[in-house]
Amino acid sequence: MNKRILVSLLLAISLAACSSKPIKDTAPAVEDKSPSTSQTAPDTSKNDSASTSGMTDTQPAINPLKDPNNILSKRSIYFDYDKDEVKPEYRALVEAHAKYLAAHPDAKVFLQGNTDERGTREYNLSLGQRRAVAVKKVLNVLGVADKQIETVSFGEEKAKTNCSDDACWKDDRRVDIAYENE
């Protein structure tokens, strides 16, 4: 119940922000995050040791998001069929990104939900979104604010086609973490 109130409150706030604006304001409102572009890279190196302390990264000069030895370079969370539960094996991965976002308040992530090709496009778009929201909620619990997160869905649009078994479909049931301007 509390959750529902919170959600409708959030909706109300975002609606209040949007509804009074004519359409011309819409695109810039979404796109005006570009100033953070230039800040992300310097920020990363400057705060690197802080953000990655306690992690495997030993070379502060390397962007931890790109460092294959850093858990932050791992970006995909896979789901069971028809499920949106974030499995325990992805806990460390999500926690690492939560810490990074806490240390980089200007950074923003897109959580991109995906589904396999079975089913209809618009409904799958909503199912992919539900998975993105599931990851977002874990990040919220770990202290990341909604303003640093955008949940979006590709539904089945990026899925492999002509799969015939779960070994093929399971790769498509995932949320990808993408940092803005990557």
Binding site: G119, T120, L125, S126
Partner: protein, 429 residues
Amino acid sequence: MIKFRSLLISLVLLMPFASHAALTVEIVGGAAQQIPIAIVPFAQPANQPSLGQQDSIATIVGADLRRSGLFRVLETRAAANQPHQLDEVKYQEWAALQAQALTIGNIESLPGNRLKVSFQLLDVLKQSSLGGLEYNITPAQLRNTAHRIADFIYQKLTGEMGVFATRIAYVTKTGTRYSLQVADADGYNPQTVVASGEPIISPTWSPDGTKLAYVSFEKKKPVIFVQSLVSGQRYVLANFKGNNSAPSWSPDGKRLAIVLTHSSNSQIFTINADGTGLQPLTHTSAIDTEPVWSPDAKWIYFTSDRGGSPQIYRISSAGGDAQRITFEGVYNVSPRISPDGKSLAYIRQEQGKFRVTIQDLASGQVQILSDSAKDESPSFAPNGRLIIYATSINGKGALAAVSADGRVKQRLSETGGDVREPAWSPAAN
């Protein structure tokens, strides 16, 4: 916002059509009772050699009527006489060929490279005229004129509106390239509305047939655009945080129902066609998506998993409590209301097979219409008789159509890549 403008669209739309089809329509079933009709090739002026390069009007009219599954188009060369005027018709000859109806017509040259096309539809048994029309056209309008003649014949002989002069929007995927196309209902004259390297889904026609709303992923997330088919110009209808998808026009064309997520699950909103006046319609923590207006504008039908599995519900377009509409099965999605408001088409999944299903809204009676396994995106023809949908044929996305009674089936195959997301236009003016 006109910042994103598609190239050359107005130019393309105004070009005289080339006489080739992107989609080939193949009939795989027909009605039990077919009306036998003879269409005599129209008399043509000798000084219009360009007409010879096009399909003749009689050929196009015959193909339209045959494709409907309701007509048997007779071979006319067997007749000794090829009448073009009423006083040339020998009815006994056509009765002997078992024709119930006969069409005769003429094409004449007019000054300024224009043509006069006239025709008569005749009742062979009653030996009388059922009417006819006359058109003053450019040569480029010949195909469309043939479709309008077929519409006239269809309406006179079946009592239903013909839909041969309508159009179909669909999305093709060739390699990594997506293209939103509009073609004539017979698959000819395809035009590119917008092309992108990212997916395009959910095209939907404005009620006046002049605009398409669609969802494009070109900004790396789903955003709703509205594009004029006349000027080619487009604007962003909705680009809010999260997803923007599943547009559906209100019957008066003034508002759209859309699906937004902000930071949560899909919920239904309504918005003015210019992007102002956003209002929430549903208020759940479940998935509410795929809204579609009833023709009387009173209801919005939609898909929701609020009951645990995706089912179809309806809610007053003014808001309020939702009522569940589908009860059989565990996966019923993509609702579409027939133009008369009496039937609901949707996609049902049973044992892994996704098939086009129709439900009588008054009685609740359900009929599965298709026998394929990967059906999506049903769309009613404006006369309600046919439902076009996306399916998979030999592992490739293809379009198919089925009559609302399940008897007539058509396959529309594309020579190039995948084709999906069909949307039938409103009736031609």
